[in-house]
Subunit: 339 residues, 2 copies
DNA sequence: CTGAAAGCGCTTACAG
DNA sequence: CTGAAAGCGCTTACAG
């Protein structure tokens, strides 16, 4: 298993010379699919080849292989930021699923900036990835149509976009679950920390919440819906805005756990006790939620599974199939913050 | 700027044919360093080449280039997990710095598992990265000596290891800062949530805290030092253990912000108010710390800068230089949790 | 079952 | 200043 990366790596030619056979034979035995490898050499020869390869730690040069086969077995992944736990976990799912099918994942941050998105996509393409997983799509962006026009194989993840295949959580259902829960608890005055308006996650969760809330007979003013950044500071600022507007809500739905934590901070700063004076519900059920001083109710979304789905779908696209979007089911975890 | 990735990409040969010159001339003009590119062609020819390349969106095939030059301009990065915010931010620094010097970063999670670490390192090497940044080194591991023996270019990040160059925060100083702060505040009964004993970050912060505490005249029992996971749940469990031991501490130092948050939860569950009944100090000053309901005191470590330093150091190693470890200065941020 | 050859897209001495 | 050739390490029809 010794791999002498130190100096020149062992090549197919080295193996062939050592065994006194032709490199093409070595290649066939080592790298064909099992079916064609079967007839590629006598069992005796094949065994000698495999033994030597294992002994010297032969590892094929991926650059040479790619140059010849026109495929890199590289998946490009573009996310807003890996420092957003949600994307980091999705990426773990991707890495995992990709490895299982012999691909490597290659990830980059776009900071949700349009220019940076384009730049990073071009960078991935310049590296000749076989396909892309886009985790940062903007509802108002024009990157996607452009990619389709250029016939680049890709799927969306995390955020959806009409007309393109995506692996997401069913954010509509998620928003509804929260509306139903807060309605059942008897709340009347609710507010939403809505996230970024360019992200389908934010828009779907928010609009589904509002729609369901009104269906149930509830009332919610437009100025109780505050768009915000997804992070803690964004949640705090949004909550401050809500509290400053006069009528204090009895419940706040933040479309992201980190924004919810920021909201909890703002509420406390105003002398309100979360759970008693004001309910708070977050989204994603990140590992933090259950462990907070006041445990946070949150909508669980299967993040790693969403990443795995994206890989599966992209495989389909690479095989030329028509793939359908997959929306995974969310589930509400009720905890002290809204019990 | 149109990049027709859709079908066969434009090659050097295509450009040469179009211009009626030899591919080698095109190559020299487009890809040599400025110095040798100067004498590579007449200014007129060079300009025609550059114009056409820009017009058709020529982008050199990195696989072909790598095969020829024996360099991929790829940096492999191994981290315990990107879902640890600390590593995610360091990675942002890496990506940034790498792009600036024409490299791409390639990251993978090892989950702090020795077998997985080896597997991931081998995967990176099989992809022929030019060098490695190791963010998950274990004090008791044997991966590093093996890499050195094989002459693989690498540097450590986040965690140090005697005898290998690393880019870290000065965790010794960080631990001391916390000891001095809590001593100044008049605390007598302190406990440490120490993190994983295989990580230098945990060991350095903890031992420096304890040492400085004793220097100042303080007393701390061995069973007030509890090793733990770095995450919120680990912090909660460790705090429970500390509280169960009888003598309630008046201050807790957790070597990680997430562990600190878990500890805050446990304290609250025991009816203690953080900041009033028991001080808590974390480490890294992640963006969450200042925004928590009870803002958390924390030692700020320059995470992105650590990542950038790792890239800079690895560049040095790749140039064959002897590089020195870099320890960046931490700074304590005092907030309500220990004010 | 195995060999020989061509070629993927580059770069880089070597000529002239 | 420019061209022609060789070769990086593979794979894959084509023969036999």
């Amino acid at each position: 298993m010794e791999n002498n990366t130190s100096e020149r790596a062992v090549t197919l030619k080295d193996l062939a010379r050592e065994l006194g056979i032709h490199p093409s034979t070595v290649s066939r035995v080592l790298h064909s699919d099992p079916a064609s490898a079967r007839g590629a050499a006598s069992e005796a020869t094949a065994q000698r080849i495999r033994d030597l390869a294992a002994e010297v730690g032969y590892s094929p040069d991926p650059q040479a292989t790619s140059l010849r086969t026109r495929r890199t077995r590289l998946l490009g992944v573009v996310v807003p930021r890996l420092s957003d736990l949600v994307l980091a976990i999705m990426y773990e799912g991707i890495e995992d699923a990709a490895a299982r099918v012999g691909y490597s994942a290659f990830v980059t941050n776009s900071r949700d900036d349009e220019r940076e998105q384009r730049r990073k996509v071009e960078m991935m393409l310049a590296r000749r990835v076989d396909g892309l997983i886009i985790g940062d799509s903007h509802l108002d962006g024009d990157v996607l149509p452009d990619l389709r026009r250029r016939a680049v194989p890709f799927v969306l993840m995390n955020r959806r976009h009409p007309g393109f295949p995506s692996a997401t959580c069913d954010d509509i259902r998620g928003g509804e679950l929260v509306a139903e829960h807060l309605w059942d608890k008897g709340h009347q005055q609710v507010a939403v920390i809505a996230g970024e308006p360019y992200a389908s996650t934010a828009v779907d969760r928010t609009s589904a919440f509002v729609e369901r809330w009104r269906e149930l007979g509830g009332d919610i003013a437009e100025d109780s819906i505050v768009w915000s950044r997804f992070d803690t500071q964004g949640g705090r600022e949004a909550a401050e805005k809500i509290l400053a507007s006069g009528k204090a809500p009895t419940a706040v739905f933040a479309v992201n756990d980190f924004a919810a934590i920021g909201a909890m901070g703002a509420l406390r700063a105003h002398g309100l006790t979360v759970g008693r004076d004001c309910a708070v519900v977050g989204y994603n059920d990140t590992s933090l939620a259950a462990e907070l001083p006041i445990p946070l109710s949150s909508v669980r979304s299967p993040m790693a599974e969403i990443g795995r789905n994206a890989v599966r779908m992209l495989q389909g696209v690479l095989r030329g199939e028509d793939v359908e979007s997959v929306r995974l089911e969310p589930a509400l975890q009720v905890r002290e913050s809204s019990a």
